[in-house]
Point group: D2
Chain length 344, copies 4
């Protein structure tokens, strides 16, 4: 049994960590911080947690106390983890950061996209990008893990087999992505109201989105070479789920794409390659840490279409964070992550 | 480890049984029947079950095979369980029926509401009404359990403390109930299409609904006397959930209603009395076997308003069925039923 | 052609006025005010208005300018209309107030429910309650009309025939009401997010809601005597629509209730009594100024159930405001209000 | 005033024609046919039409009677219009076909995609493809108009300015399209149930969809040369709306794309080019005959992204049919099509 804390627990990734960890046999959440809600019991704010965390309450963040824990999750807006992570690492606490703070290796690029200087550039060298399907071994021994973003997870897992095999033109990748509204967080924005966002669909950030450099960095690592990506996210009237539709152009005879994907993900506990001809639904992964993938080659042309779905709050955030924790502490990778999706 | 079967597994209560039993440590599902889908793997029909039931397939119902199992769930339309239940009981298999076939004690009343003669009146005497909060002891030794309907569960649990205490006028009860569309089952009806049922609200069956005699029978048992109930169900644009708003009139000074409810349900693993002033949300119980209840007395008048919410497919069907199985086989009552709701 | 203005036009009732008046042949909107959005074109904020109001922009409120118009609508939060209405009336401009500011005749009761002193008690005597089905003649000559609230409209129109006929016990009325989320306005509140309010149902204000005194006052007028009402509103996961389910107890033999309702509303352009056995859907009135009503007497008991549906933003606000304007200026009452609902 | 009929009026495009024509000053619907619902009043089936069509009832199709009308709309499944259209044209009635029966010029290609021989190949030569923005002049004098499909309308209008100007590589077009569920019609299919289709997103027909040859034919006409298109439709949890996200690659310096689009669509009553940087929402066109378009060039690369939204039942079907009728009979093109979208 290890003791963990959550910094910034009032948002959707925070409550999702609590939900998942309630089902984890080896983890106890002993601290959860929130400046605005200090003193409030988590089960008063999230009634689904009644009966699971009846005494746990939000508290002011305290580096000393957090530093006594085995691991601390950051479920904070960008910029918050920089300073505190360093303090915790110094006390021997391992850090799993769900924010964007340690995802980009280049501090300047981070500063450019997030509009402020990077607060802990010295840590960038050791931060491990927490995509287990790419970096499993480094994660096991990492002190500091940067959990990938939701879009980046769905897109990278979809392109991975194709780019590793060098089958497609890395200079012409198109990722058309659709997300549920929890991707925008729990902030009270007019655009996220049910009255505004339901019964409608729209693109956003068509001219540039903060997940773009993260995806590009990840695909470049996979490809071992430069990539060019067009990434258009869309807001979909549903609570959770990301559907990535990924287009690429074959540059050589591909052999059997289905087999390529199945082999690459054989043994992966959190990636499920669907049978040929499938169209994965986001609801089939809702609440779970699974990425479901199908690969198509329409009319046998030179265009490959990969369909990749995840729950943005689980495999795209809190579930992947727990998967990383399992690896870091030697538990079976899927511990606490095995409940099937609720469907319908 | 016991072996169980599911008869009529293609509907929503069937797949929900599979989902819940996938998390149950002591139960193995070894048979699931469907005439129309015989030969199809359940995980091909319900992709959320991929990785959980990769070999289980629908089969033709076979009384001999089912009769070798410890227990069989019926998730069938009304009228189907009558004959087969009898055969299974004769072979020593215990039966948990999620349909309406054994809920009413009076075969004539059943025939009147369901438009056909009752097929197994001889079994009505021993069938136990599977509402654990009322009939826990009988359930433990029952061979045949009739799992309550969804509306009846929400309504009875809401009125129970008031009627047991004799505080309200049993001759003037009003249950205004709202249900998600899965209450109408998985049948392909125009009225259940997203295009027809979303972005709208309507009542139905205002002049009489099949759950009315079941609720009346249950409330009469609780009250130990005649009751008069007006019951109006409504269709709500959501997948799951029942919200029962229950009105009654005080006939004597009630003392503290909050305490009355808390005491009645103290120790009940599947009923959660909310703090004073609460308004339970159906999403807080989605996917769980919990009934959340709040009690109000508006403007300190003689009207009591009870708000009672459940997931119609869990506490209102498959979860309550598992709760009954746990009692029948001596497991902890909430085994396999402890995952928190996914929220948001 | 008359010239009108809208004060506080950024909210949902403001944009709905613009939508409806775009189809009105005799009205030109020449001013719309908003302190926060001054200078912004309405079609930039509401793209559905592109091509309809391409030059109209929000402006700072200016009593002089507004005072030159024929009529001014207030689509403001409570308390705002008190002072400005008086100024406009003095200049001869007629005022149609969609807020709650002039609905209650008793300034003290208003102060109690709205937590501040009434700002224009001198006007309460002449303000006409703008429910045309009750007060048509007074509306025609009114200088100041208080447009009824959404819940009050649906509830009063449903009870009206029963109370006028003296058929039911006015001491035991129960109004169980369900509303879409636009009832909560365009404010950015966490509880109104799609992620929080969809796929769920809950009651709110079960112990007291601001529409209660308004409904009580209206029903008392109809009944010509005291009434006792329990009113429980619920939040439903849809954008628009109110479904009122109204319970009452017969105190004398009712004759044919269907005929009673049909006669009472014969000739009413905005009330539609459905055939016997009907269950009106809120979507059937979406975007329209119609109230659809059905009356039931379950199992021929002494309980009457009336189902009454409106669009909360149209017959419950902006459409009823236009209906009042039509009466005040001598136009046909349904002018500009005749487009059928979009369905599905 | 002209008299029109609708063949196959029970589906969504049929009721939508009725809704739109109720607001048309020059058209009277005097016949609507349905074999299954003959004798039923349209307002009994669609309560939103109460008060608009109180006497019109479905009737058996009768070529003689229909042949006396000025125009007949076909809102039928594919294959039905072939024989009857010919009969009506012979009697001098003009035909506006909303089905796919006359959209493809090549009878063999039609037979291949629809799995049956074409029933009226002799008419293919004179059928005019009813996209007014391309074929306005031919429509005016046409006897037989094939109204474009929903996806084809959104995709063609989005690519039109780019292809006409020869700016992009016609050999590498990617149309990622998202549709509400009414695109699947009013048929009672399990996959279209609210319980199945809400709170989820999925692609379908990724390997080939019936709209593909129609889009290809249209784009080839525009391009005046061969095109290669990848088309992936997605099911979105909303009632109405299509969002087409269109990718293409520049093959020469484009100049100002915004100006290109604005000039091409200047004066078009049913196409609205949004300001630079816009992301059109499907709800902004709900219920209207408008196509809203925005053009982006992410990071100033050689990839152009066009966002094109329509209401699949209006500009994608019944509204475009009325627009064609207006052209054919010399009315202003937007007659009866000017009501703003209901929003929110």
């Amino acid at each position: 049994m290890i003791k963990v804390g959550i910094v910034g627990g009032t948002g959707y990734t925070g409550v999702e960590l609590l939900r998942l960890l309630a089902m984890h046999p080896h983890v106890e959440v002993t601290a959860i911080t929130s400046r605005s809600e200090a003193g409030v019991r988590v089960s008063d704010m999230y009634p689904n947690l009644r009966g699971h965390y009846d005494t746990l309450a939000f508290s002011e963040p305290d580096a000393k106390q957090l530093g006594r824990l085995d691991a601390v999750f950051f479920a904070t807006p960008h910029g918050v983890a920089h300073a505190l992570a360093s303090e915790l690492l110094d006390q021997g606490t391992r850090v799993i950061d769900l924010s964007a703070d340690f995802r980009l290796r280049d501090a300047d690029e981070w500063a450019q996209w997030y509009g402020q200087p990077h607060g802990a550039p010295a840590l960038l060298g050791e931060a491990v990008y927490g995509l287990p399907e790419m970096h499993r071994e480094q994660i096991k021994t990492a002190r500091l893990v940067a959990v990938p973003g939701c879009y980046p997870t769905a897109v990278q897992l979809g392109y991975l087999p194709l780019l590793e095999a060098g089958l497609v033109d890395a200079g012409r990748l198109i990722a058309d992505c659709k997300s549920g509204v929890t991707g925008a967080g729990r902030g009270a924005k007019v655009g996220s109201l049910l009255a505004e966002a339901s019964e409608s669909m729209k693109a956003y950030g068509a001219s540039g989105h903060r997940h773009l450099p993260e995806i590009r960095q990840g695909l470049t690592d996979i490809q071992a070479g430069a990539v060019s990506l067009t990434f258009v996210p869309h807001l979909t009237p549903m609570i959770r789920g990301i559907h990535a539709t990924l287009y690429s152009t074959l540059i050589e005879a591909p052999g059997d794409l289905q087999t390529l994907f199945e082999r690459r993900y054989a043994g992966e506990p959190c990636v499920d390659v669907m049978p040929p001809g499938s169209h994965p639904e986001t609801r089939s992964v809702k609440g779970t840490n699974t990425c479901r993938i199908a690969v198509h080659r329409p009319e046998n042309s030179d265009t490959v279409v990969v369909l990749s779905v995840i729950d943005n709050l689980v495999k795209g955030a809190s579930g992947q964070a727990v998967q990383n924790l399992n690896l870091m502490f030697g538990y079976d990778e899927a511990t606490g992550l095995s409940a099937p999706a609720v469907m319908p």
